[in-house]
């Protein structure tokens, strides 16, 4: 087995990196692949709470790197998905506790045992980001349809290209179809035109993302959630399946159709 390293990054904070890492990881594990998620956000760890594994942490990434435990001891096994593991970040240290070459060495050790090594990158373009992309085979850039997130995504894509870790693949998160239809939110096509990279996922804004993170159960495991389905589709695309993109448009009823017809005729 030669596992692939997938790094999830964004530049801007709060766009959904951790949610994407947890859910794509969980979906891959649900499909039967062996997955380990690494939280590279040292000092601000969160992948543990989103996955609901926070009470089981004994050792962390920095303990492994500094030789205080064996790699296996720092891996927490998810009880719901036996093929899913987490290596948590240290909470009381900072990004300089780990180097890019430490991350490469760690991933090389994990590759023979796993199908996927998912790395949750911290926000920013400094050391933590460089640690996270150093071992990457695939880079997922998460953005939201808003000016600040798109701008930061562009910056990150440039850095990924200059580190020769590309081509980066884009995940547009938190899309509000109603706002897009009204012309008050950038459409995925607009974001794609601006950033000019390949799309790998579009996730609708979905309250179930919050309720499932409240519970510590990835939304990708919920068959009813639209966002969950979108995350599962990203996982399938990573596995090489050709999956059509979900329609973001849920028609908007009679009035919505009428207004769009008038607009189409009025331009």
């Amino acid at each position: 087995m030669t596992g692939k390293v997938v790094t999830v990054t964004s530049g801007k904070g709060g766009v959904g990196k951790t949610t994407a890492t947890a859910n794509v990881g969980a979906a891959l594990a649900q499909f039967g692949d062996k997955v380990v998620c690494i939280d590279a956000d040292i000092g601000l760890r969160n992948l543990d709470v989103v996955l609901g594994l926070e009470n089981r942490i004994v050792y962390d990434l920095v303990d492994v790197v500094e030789g205080r435990c064996r790699l296996r001891q720092a891996m927490i096994r998810d009880k719901r998905l036996p093929e899913l593991y987490l290596i948590p970040a240290a909470q009381t240290r900072d990004k300089s506790a780990v180097s890019p070459s430490d991350m490469v060495r760690l991933c090389d050790e994990l590759r023979p045992e796993f199908d996927w090594i998912m790395i949750d990158s911290p926000a920013g373009i400094e050391r933590g980001f460089r640690n996270a992309i150093a071992p990457a085979d695939v880079v997922l850039v998460v953005t939201n349809p808003e000016v600040s997130a798109v701008r930061d995504a562009d910056r990150i894509i440039g850095l990924i290209e200059s580190e020769e870790k590309g081509p980066a693949r884009l995940v547009v998160n938190r899309i509000k179809p109603d706002m897009v239809r009204r012309g008050d939110m950038l459409a995925v096509e607009d974001v794609l035109e601006l950033l000019a990279i390949e799309l790998v996922g579009m996730i609708p804004d979905d309250e179930m993302v919050l309720t499932s993170s409240n519970r510590g159960t990835p939304v990708a495991l919920d068959g009813k959630s639209k966002a969950g389905q979108a995350f599962r589709n990203i996982a399938r695309r990573l596995r090489g399946e050709d999956v059509p993109f979900l329609s973001m448009d849920n028609e908007g009823g009679f009035l919505g159709k009428l207004v769009r017809r008038i607009r189409a005729g009025g331009d």
């Binding site: 000016v147 701008r151 562009d154 440039g158 012309g183 008050d184 939110m185 008038i262």
Partner: protein, 89 residues
Amino acid sequence: MAGFLDRLLGRETKSAQQAKERLKLVLVHDRTDIAPGVLEVLKDDLIAAISRHIEIDPSAVRIEMTQEGREQRLIADIPLRPVRRRRVT
């Protein structure tokens, strides 16, 4: 009422459209590390240099950055002045 009608019929510039236009410019400058003011200075220098050799209309000169995929291009559009022919009598 007029504002409402405009919005209903989509005549008003949509905020998403504004976001896209603004981002286009911002990204060009971010990617090339060229501040917006630098282009103006460059334009003046270009006009001066070209004017030494050929006659141009300085007010019609356009210097723009364009995007093709993830590549940036500097486009200079410099209309030439037609030569005024003297009438041969």
